[in-house]
Amino acid sequence: MTQPKKRLLDTKMVPVPSQSIVPERDVDKRPVLETRHLGIEFGGLKAVEDFNIAVGPTEICGLIGPNGAGKTTVFNLLTKVYQPTTGTVLINGKDTSGMNTEQANRMGIARTFQNIRLFSNMTVEDNVRIGLHNQIRYGMFSGILRLPQFWQGEKKQHEKALDLLSIFGMQDMANVKAGSLPYGAQRRLEIVRALATNPSLLLLDEPAAGMNPHETEELMQNIIKIRDQFQIAVMLIEHDMNLVMGICEGICVLNYGRIIAKGTPDEIQSNPVVIEAYLGSQHKEVE
């Protein structure tokens, strides 16, 4: 945090009415994600409180904070793994109250997990095909009776899956069992699987964890590529400040379940409250 990090994107951020900032190019468009006073309690403990954020439809946004700040809990609230005790989540302007994870995904929100959750007994291609489940469809009976819809659907799924895998150059691993992939490849496969659901917002939970600097560099390029190619928003939790400062356009800092700062990478790096949260307390694992 002490010296400024290299930035790959230089975006002008502008404030919007909902106490947040979005890239200038997105300012006239409806935000892909908006939260209003989002909060959750676990047995009286407020894990996340009054979380307000707006994410532009093509924004790359970072969610950072010391360990235990509630970052993953925010992801779980956005994807409806947890139901919030207060506030609402709007995806593309639609209220998601009362929805479950599956419905939230159909609304256009896809995610990866901090501790990888692949379908490890299935092949790489099948993992992506499951991501395509709601995109390329045919019914159970077409499948059992091998009707023409089955053959067409399978062909489309196969082509689309290889197409998506090629983003990370993984098309040659299509028939490998997902569980036997190296760690970095498993993280990449999770991203491909999430992308396959055709989201408008992609949530990445520590995508660079366990990667070496070279792999991280590649990942940063790929995240930008994904954003440009698919024209979607990306929100990521990450402890690697090179990655966060390098590609995030807007950053939101969380501490003890509350937002303590929002701003561009430059603003965040020089924000005394943020430096205090990271360095002033006992949390020293972040450089």
Binding site: T72, N76, V81, F113
Partner: protein, 294 residues
């Protein structure tokens, strides 16, 4: 009115037996996070041992009970060490299937040793019946002993888990095995002790059960075992008072259901209660909510 009271007493007494068995299930589930399907068959082995002790070795009832408890304790520890311990990291499906295999192993071993003929269990409890309400309501001695035994065991177990070092170790292991190990708790020993206590209780339950229902066969334990598991789930698995409450409620429900609704559907009634409880409150009456970490 009198018949209702006498049904209630029968229910209470049957429920006490369920509660004692359910305690074994609940303790093992709390610590090893596994459904010990063979627990019901340990009851049956306990009953056979005490039957043999009285019938063939002419031991007094008290010694027969001690013999049954001793054999079952050893049996419980051996089963855990041989079949369950190697599977601590395995899926719950694998552990459950192994436990089912163990249940069949015990039943069929009993079949080979004692045959399939029904053994008429001797009356081990010589306590006079109490007659109340001018002799209209008679409470059998067995019922009194069973209910008392249940209360005593319940109090003893509660004191054990809250006051003794081993009891605290058990609670520690059931919360977090890894952390308990790091704190210097011998996890293997703790789990063995849990199985030992559960199995000794099963022996007591076996004797009490067979005194009330004297027909002893190799499958005697399986139905009460399943019902006691139901009771444990009903009360909230992992909770000692829950097992007690669940067992007694289930016994009363079963007897009343059989008496007032349908004799044939008595068991169906018990299982219907289980299903309803699980749907309304999946963690049982006194159970804790379990969060899945994402």
């Amino acid at each position: 009115m009198i018949s209702l009271l006498s049904h209630l007493m029968n229910g209470l007494s049957l429920g006490s037996v369920y509660a004692i068995i359910a305690l074994g299930y609940t303790m093992v589930y709390g610590i090893a996070k596994m459904l010990n399907f063979a627990h019901g068959d340990v009851i049956m082995i306990g009953a056979y041992i005490s039957f043999c002790a009285i019938h063939y070795w002419n031991l007094p009832p008290a010694l027969a009970l001690v013999a049954a408890m001793a054999v079952c304790t050893v049996l419980g520890i051996v089963i855990e060490r041989l079949a369950y311990k190697p599977l601590r990291q395995a899926t719950s499906l694998a552990v459950l299937i192994t436990a089912i295999g163990m249940s069949y192993l015990l039943q069929n071993s009993a079949l080979l040793i004692w045959g399939s003929n029904t053994k008429s269990f001797p009356d081990m409890i010589n306590v006079p019946a109490i007659s109340l309400l001018g002799g209209e309501l008679i409470i059998k001695g067995e019922a009194i002993v069973t209910i008392l035994a249940c209360v005593v065991i319940m109090i003893a177990l509660t004191l054990f888990t809250s006051r003794t070092k081993m009891g605290k170790a058990m609670r520690g292991v059931s919360e977090d095995k890894g952390a308990a190990e790091l704190m210097g708790i011998n996890v293997n020993l703790t789990i063995s002790v849990t199985f030992a206590i559960g199995s000794a209780l099963a022996a007591i339950a076996g004797v009490l059960l067979c005194t009330a229902y004297p027909a002893l066969t190799p499958t005697t334990g399986s139905m009460p075992g399943i019902k006691a598991f139901t009771a444990a789930v009903f009360g909230g698995i992992g909770s000692i008072p829950g097992a007690m409450v669940g067992g007694i409620l289930l016994g009363v429900i079963e007897i009343l259901g059989k008496a007032y609704i349908s004799m044939e559907l008595g068991d169906a009634f018990v299982f219907a209660v289980l299903i309803i409880v699980l749907l309304v409150k999946p963690t049982g009456l006194l159970g804790k909510k379990i969060h899945e970490k994402v």
